[in-house]
Amino acid sequence: MSGTAVDGNHLFNGRGSTDPADLRQELRAWLEQNCPASMRTPMPADEVPNGGAQGPSPSNPDTFTWMRRAAERGLTLPTAPEAYGGAGFSEDQAAILADEMQRINARPPLLGSGALLLAPMLLRFGSEEQKRQHLPPIAQGEVRWCQGFSEPGAGSDLASLRMRAQPDGDEFVLNGQKTWTSFATVADWIFCLARTDPDAAVRQQGISLFLIDMRTPGITVRPIRLINGDTEFCETFFDDVRVPAANILGGENNGWTVAKALLLEERRATPGWTLAAWPFPLMDVWREQVGKSAAVAERVTDSELNRLALEAALRRAARLANAGSPEAERFVNVVKVWFAEYQQERGSLVTLLREWRGAGWAGAATQGDLDVTRAWLTSRALSIAGGSTEIQLNIISKHFLGLPTS
């Protein structure tokens, strides 16, 4: 392939150039031309580009246009090689892309567990065949993935999971139950931890990560209703589900290693793209207050100072990660703990100050009010999902402070 960019070609001229300014210029021009105006506004919850064929359609058709255009240039998985639907960018080049997208407030063209979590693991642990099978459909937004990690008896203590995978010829037969499988009703595939060696000396060593087509016979999904009214989380039951042995990612009995890397990726990916997605307009609410009390002013000030601090911390996290600093990893846990508590406090304060407008569930209420209230209710999950705050504190004390296990 030549280095010339033409329509329909993945290549960006500047990618091969020694001067990063070339790539920046080219990306800037491309984004200006291809990112629809409505994709440069804050993203409402019903326009999240999760991909897949079965999901509720994002209500704004520009969502698909943007996803398709970005995918044509490999920009939905910028650091994946072109052969797998990516743009073949280095980390530095991806940082330039992120920069230029931020410059015009462009929404991410594609989100969801496939692009954010599984794709990096496929690139790192996948066989050539797995990469070729799974990465392009993820990059195109054609296939939506869900995550099958937690079980009713294995939440924070994930390594105690009991779902069994028994070998039978060149297949495994899976039996058990997964919970908190978000969007399982609309997902096309699931990545799922199951126990392949129940006799392993260390329980973490007997686990494998399976890639499973949700249409496989024996899989049943039941939605769970949450306090915010959402039904995206599900229970997923496996009853003699037969999966080819070739669908294990990262090797048999090596699933814990992959899962740990994936959970780290989740902690890293979550705050970045959700910061804009939390609609807590505290300063607007403060200005609307008829009477302004010192006690309220102090809470508003604390929240604003925490916002400043969190933004500084997110920028520092990005700087450390770009510099490949060993401090970057521990910062991920810090940011996760802080992000959750900041959003919970801010959501609680905004809905309190909105009084009855902040307590509406349904009926005569504006969509904007309802969104804010639901987001506040949802914020309680931020300190539970993706490794609870208590688990983050355990990780910090054991791995970064060197405090011994009792």
Binding site: S293, A297, V300, L305, A309, L393, S397, L403, P404, S406
Partner: protein, 381 residues
């Protein structure tokens, strides 16, 4: 300013910080603080050590090269200040480097420049009579000047750290046009209530009543009170925040060592989750505070319009956090933490003294609120 490439500057700074750390480790054990705390020395620091530190280029780290300094800027000074805070170095970095230097570099008059050269050379210790936190909130100064003959007649009292010991005093005084910064030879000002502070430093109330000074004592031209105090409340507060964070990180490290060594109920107490989580939460807060501090110092160096907000955000956070980390440090040490022999108490007391400098953390929270537009109306009676 120096024109070295960024990477060379970073290496130079790293080398400087490392050599300072070694120097303080060799020459300034925490026991020095205890000596000054319990001793009756008139001055709370060592003049010979200060000159040595100046020769190594540390007192002039933020001073432009043209005036005899290293020209590395405020962010670099912050790194050095952090390192000195870790050892609670008694030499007058807080008064002369954190407070006096930003005030002096705000003026480009000859008088200010002569003093800056003296600071870089280590031949002058300069104390600053900063208004009290409550005066800062009110926007008033504690010392005022009225014209008298060829100069001014002063009135009022103000507190200054490192007196006795300082050679010169910088004081902002109220004049009809607003605010003037005066520089006065320390021996000219009677001090009352000279005291040893809880952290072993010396400080005194300065009595300006009836003091006559020449017009030449003034730096630059008159400015508003808020402009006059800006070097203290922005660059000064950022540097004091660097001291507070360095201190807080060190007392956290000391506490962590204790958690790994102390045994109760047959195990080291650091193996108990209740204590682990307390430590981990402090770790999170220190990491976030560092992010704010770095942005504040860099904003000051760039002359960013957000520098005032970031500086107050940094001081509001580190002033509160340093004392809280030290308080937790005492609690996690148990009875040992209350003893004079344990270092954790020295950090606790130093945290309070540093918070009082350049406006305490609540003053800066109020300033931040005002800068963010969060103001409360008069309450109905």
């Amino acid at each position: 300013m120096t024109t070295l490439p960024a990477a060379d500057l970073a290496d130079e700074l790293q080398a400087l910080v490392e050599s300072a750390d070694r120097f303080f480790a060799d020459h300034s054990p925490a026991s020095r603080v205890r000596d000054y705390l319990h001793g009756d020395q008139a001055v709370g620091f060592d003049r010979a050590l200060w000159r040595e530190q100046a020769e190594l280029g540390w007192t002039g780290i933020a001073i432009p090269e043209a005036l005899g300094g290293a020209g590395l800027g405020i962010a670099a000074a912050g790194r050095l200040i952090e390192v000195s805070a870790r050892r609670l170095v008694p030499e007058p970095f807080l008064s002369t480097v954190c407070l006096a230097t930003p005030v002096l570099t705000a003026f480009d008059c000859e008088r200010a420049q002569a003093l800056i050269r003296d600071v870089a050379a280590g031949t002058a210790v300069i104390a600053v009579a900063v208004p009290s936190s409550s005066a800062i909130i009110q926007g008033t100064l504690e010392v005022e000047a009225t014209s008298s003959g060829s100069g001014w007649r002063l009135g009022g009292r103000a507190f200054a750290l490192d007196v006795p010991g300082a050679d010169r005093i910088l004081v902002p005084v109220a004049v009809p046009e607003g605010c003037r910064w005066l520089t006065i030879d320390a021996p000219m000002i009677p001090s009352v209530a000279a005291r040893t502070l809880i952290d072993g430093r010396r400080g005194a109330e300065l009595d300006f009543d009836g003091l006559e000074v020449e017009h030449e004592a003034a730096l630059g031209s008159p400015v508003s009170v808020s402009t006059g105090l800006e070097p203290i409340l922005v660059a000064g507060a950022s540097l004091v925040s660097a001291w507070l964070l360095g201190l807080a990180e060190q007392v956290f490290a000391v506490t962590l060592e204790y958690l790994k060594a102390r045994e109760q109920f047959g195990a080291v107490i650091g193996s108990y989750q209740a204590l682990q989580h307390r430590a981990a939460r402090l770790f999170c807060e220190l990491a976030v505070a560092r992010s704010v501090l770095e942005e504040a110092l860099e904003a000051v160096d760039r002359g960013d319009p957000d520098a005032a907000l970031l500086a107050s955000a940094a001081k509001a956070r580190t002033g509160e956090l340093a004392l809280r980390v030290a308080s937790e440090g005492i609690q996690l040490h148990g009875g040992v933490g209350m003893t004079d022999e344990a270092n954790v108490g020295l950090y606790f007391k130093a945290a309070r003294v540093a918070d009082l400098l350049a406006g305490h953390h609540l003053v800066h929270k109020s300033r931040a609120a005002a800068l963010l537009g969060i103001t409360v109306e008069e309450q109905p009676a």
